[in-house]
Amino acid sequence: MDYKDYYKALGVDRTATQDEIKKAYRKLARKYHPDVNADQDADAKFKEAGEAFAVLGDAEKRAAYDALGAEPPRGGQGFRPPPDWEQGYQFSDPPHGAGGPEDAAFSDFFENLFRSGARAEGRTSGMRAAGQDQHARVTLDIGDAFNGTSRVLTMRVPEMDDAGRMMLKDRNVSVKIPKGVREGQHIRLKGKGSPGIGGGPAGDLFLEVAFAPHPTYRIDGRDIYVDLPVTPWEAALGGKVTMPTPGGEVGITIPENARTGQKLRLKGRGLPGKLAGDLYAVLKIVNPPTTTQAGQALYEQMAKEMSFDPRKSMEA
């Protein structure tokens, strides 16, 4: 397993006080909280800070961590804890204490050093309980949401082994993404959460749907927005052009004298569903570079024949 530099993760010195550590963690938690920060890597940074704080924020764990040494051994790769690890330290608080990130499956480093010894309390023989629900997020391409698809997700979940110890396990979960799913919806996978105890039913797994940014399409609820470039003459004369949509190419009619920023609606061409969304083409007039004499002559003729001052409304 890899060594984790928790001081670096929180951006504090090894000599930092508990107050400084708490402050640094709070700042990072606010900044990278996945409900606040939609960046792709925010979630990972939030978890990293949470893991670091779970150790450094606790005086006993911090002392144990410090005892490992100031330098990441052997460049951090292939780290093994010393054989007498854990001796003299007692990690009294429950591994899933309040204030930590949800269902946190921390790094191997953390799980091995700070969690593997934790016995589950009150979960011994004769006890029967339903497994916990789990929550995760799945990021989809717009095409996947438009057409529906299936995915296999790898979940890292803490599971109890026979000796009642928490172990990290990779579990593959296949999920059917329904056609027309929207951002912020939840997919429920019955019985795919944490396993039950003593024959109790397993919990459910809830997947929150998020969309990956797309170079062409922007999604707003059920509706899809597309920038549609048109030439000055297409905008002036109107006519039919073809444009891509997630459901394939469609023809769209440009009205005469169309403007940049004008929105054309294609009803029902947004995300499919009982109430299908609409697709909006936002026109953007693009003028070509004029490189030929004939081209220049056309513009000169326009300049002569069309009296148009786009700066008329500007104040001097």
């Binding site: 938690a29 909280h33 204030g99 059917k176 912020g184 919806q185 429920r188 809830f206 922007r218 936002v282």
Partner: protein, 103 residues
């Protein structure tokens, strides 16, 4: 178009939740959800707790509220404010995106 739509496709999409289901979803008790309602964070349909149903938007807001409370220690008025501001920010970002200026 094929007519036969597999039932399980629809089964696994979370639609409206009852009060009880929302409590389980958020790992919270009813009093906490009632507090969400009192602060206007979520708005159930139906009269009386027994008939409450929560839309997908409410489900998402409730989940975010729970996480903000647990992870950042925000109290209920703070959660209500944070969620409103986040929604306004997301709306403005989408508008910016329409003008090709997304950050």
């Amino acid at each position: 178009m094929k007519k036969a739509k597999s039932h399980s496709d629809e089964d696994n999409l979370v639609d409206e939740l009852t009060l009880h289901e929302l409590c389980r979803f958020c790992d919270a008790d009813e009093a906490w959800v009632v507090e969400l309602i009192q602060h206007g964070v979520v708005e159930p349909h139906g009269a009386g707790e027994a008939e409450y149903s929560f839309s997908q938007i409410s489900v998402l807001r409730a989940k975010k509220a729970r996480r903000l409370e647990r992870d950042l220690g925000i109290n209920m008025p703070g959660i209500a404010l944070a969620l409103d501001l986040l929604e306004e920010r997301d709306h403005l970002r989408r508008l910016l995106g329409r003008f090709g200026m997304a950050s």
